[in-house]
């Protein structure tokens, strides 16, 4: 278990070191306006939404599902909140807006859960419905405009600091909460059981439907909060670009973290590492000055290298000669 996480950690460290070599100031931290400021802080702050969505996604994937709609749900949450806030600078309005948005997200999660657990539709296609329509709904809410708000309370969610960025604190808190809930209760085990062998779980009396339903709702709420972070970070809701392709990043984070898309055993720590690796990669591209044309090739090379490092088989193949010699 610990051994398995060693390699993602190494990959992350290697990426960070690459930054250090190219930009020596990357690790520099200073206090700016009462909070930490520096490259690492950016990684945490910008990685927070992906991490949050990836946490929800981990549980969904553990039940053998997948949720493609998280990006659209994030956009809806952002749109609803910003439209609700409008020009108001009130903290109360912001809170109310966020509450409405998250309740809506929970409802969207129920909807996904209904399609998957209730109607038995394959998750990828069931959530594709909301992925497509959801962005339309978000645009309907904003009427295709970017809704800019000027609300300090709202700004805190994505751009605020309590020494560290508020967004990463939220994501880590959710991570801790999920870790605790799944470990201290039997939820984690039951989720894995449903993911590994749904029929055996049913015959053992596990409420698979309720569990599947729960994880989709949870994933949607996570996506909603992430959407709030993304839009709060720039104080604007953009129904088109908020959370665009974030489902791919989240799934990638989960998978790099060692959770199999085939369901079953999952690792939240792995997901945390996966998210950090992905965000570090993105930030690295900006900091070390990879030309825009080469960015994708660079990403491809890094992703595949990270995976090769992690794969026991690849390592065995690489170290084979050494073993043979010694």
């Amino acid at each position: 278990m610990k051994n398995r996480l060693l390699w993602p950690i190494l990959a992350l460290v290697a990426l960070l070191l690459l930054n250090l070599v190219v930009t020596p100031s990357f690790f520099a931290l200073r206090i700016q306006d009462g909070h930490l400021y520096g490259g690492l802080v950016d990684v945490l702050k910008n990685g927070a939404p992906t991490l949050l969505i990836a946490i929800g996604m981990t549980l969904v994937i553990a039940t053998r599902g997948i949720d493609l709609s998280v990006g659209a749900v994030a956009a809806i949450a952002a749109a609803v909140t910003c439209v609700h806030i409008g020009t108001s600078p009130d903290a109360g309005t912001a809170l109310a807006g966020m509450a409405i948005a998250l309740v809506l997200c929970a409802a969207l999660g129920l909807w996904n859960g209904f399609l998957v657990a209730g109607l038995g539709i394959q998750p990828i296609i069931a959530t594709l419905v909301l992925m497509t329509a959801g962005r339309g709904i978000a645009m309907l809410v904003t009427e295709g405009q970017i809704i800019t708000v000027n609300n300090d309370a709202y700004r805190q969610v994505g751009a605020g600091f309590v020494v560290l960025p508020v967004s990463i604190l939220i994501s880590l808190a959710v991570l801790g909460l999920v870790a605790l809930t799944t470990r201290k209760t039997a939820l984690g085990m039951l989720i894995e059981a449903v993911g590994v062998n749904p029929e055996a779980s049913r015959l053992a009396g596990v409420r698979s439907r309720t569990i599947i339903w729960t994880v989709y709702v949870f994933a949607a709420v996570c996506a909603g909060i992430a959407g709030l972070m993304i839009s709060s970070n720039v104080s604007a809701a953009d129904a088109n670009s908020n959370g665009l392709w974030i489902e791919m990043d989240a799934i990638l984070a989960v998978v790099i973290g060692g959770t199999s898309l085939a369901g079953g055993r999952y690792s939240l720590t792995g997901t945390l590492l996966g998210s950090l690796i992905i965000q570090t990669l993105t930030t690295t591209v900006y900091t070390i000055g990879v030309a825009a044309e080469v960015t994708l090739v660079f990403k491809a090379v890094v992703v595949i290298t990270v995976c090769l490092i992690q794969s026991p088989k690849a390592r065995a193949a690489l170290s084979f000669r050494k073993v043979a010699v010694s």
């Binding site: 405009q145 970070n233 720039v234 604007a236 953009d238 665009l244 900006y286």
Partner: protein, 306 residues
Amino acid sequence: GSGSGGAGSGTGNGSSGDTITMGFAQVGAESGWRTANTKSIQDEAKAAGIDLKFSDAQQKQENQIKAIRSYIQQKVDVIAFSPVVETGWDTVLLEAKRANIPVILTDRAIDSDDTSLYKTFLGSDFVEEGRKAGDWLVQNVNGPTNVVELQGTTGAAPAIDRKKGFEEKIAAKPDIKVVASQTGDFTRSGGKQVMEAFLKSQPKIDVVYAHNDDMGLGAIEAIKAAGKVPGKDIKIITVDAVKDGMTALANGEINFIVECNPLLGKQLMELAKKVVKGEEVPARVVTVEGTFTQEQAKAALPQRQY
């Protein structure tokens, strides 16, 4: 509720009646700019009494082609569309030509040797926009200047052209150097993230050139978070002139905006009527576009519609 009334059908062969049927294949609704563009076209079509068939291609060129093909099938009187990419239109436009349906391009020309494929092209010139931005910079800075560039989506035509035009102009002054250039995908979050990274990796940044207002607005947030003053410590040039950008310009956070006008509707409808009647139209109609400094922005802001 349902946004799709029963209207819109039942036209089919509009050539017989007086009302003109226009098929408009929009790229998508990927930005506020585009939405304003769509709205202008829809409003002006209504005002001009033109029956508009509108389709949104969800940012995919192939969908646009499909829509155009379906307009040909529906025998509309005139087809208009915004080709975000220059290439890839020949086949379907040839079909339109065979079906005797005139085509108007908006926004951008196409790259085809056969100019008979379309009647006219109405739109802005992205390279020119880049040049305007470059011009302003050349005239307004002295001494060594480090510029960071926030590019649009890699490969997107406005991104390529605005970069090209800009580079063309600043080449005249070797003091001006683009020290970093990265794509911010035309979004605020993208602009902010890239700018955050630039602020850490570049020791000295004097100017930000953003390919659209949104990335510029994102960059402003990043600059503020770094404890610098946007517009003063770091000058900002953007393109588009949407309302939010203009507000920032009026507030002194942006220094210069090159306009890219989405309100093509009126001109388009006029052209369409002429084209359907068979009148001669100029092969190229340039939209009226200007540039804004901070003072001009303050004056123009109250009338800004989008």
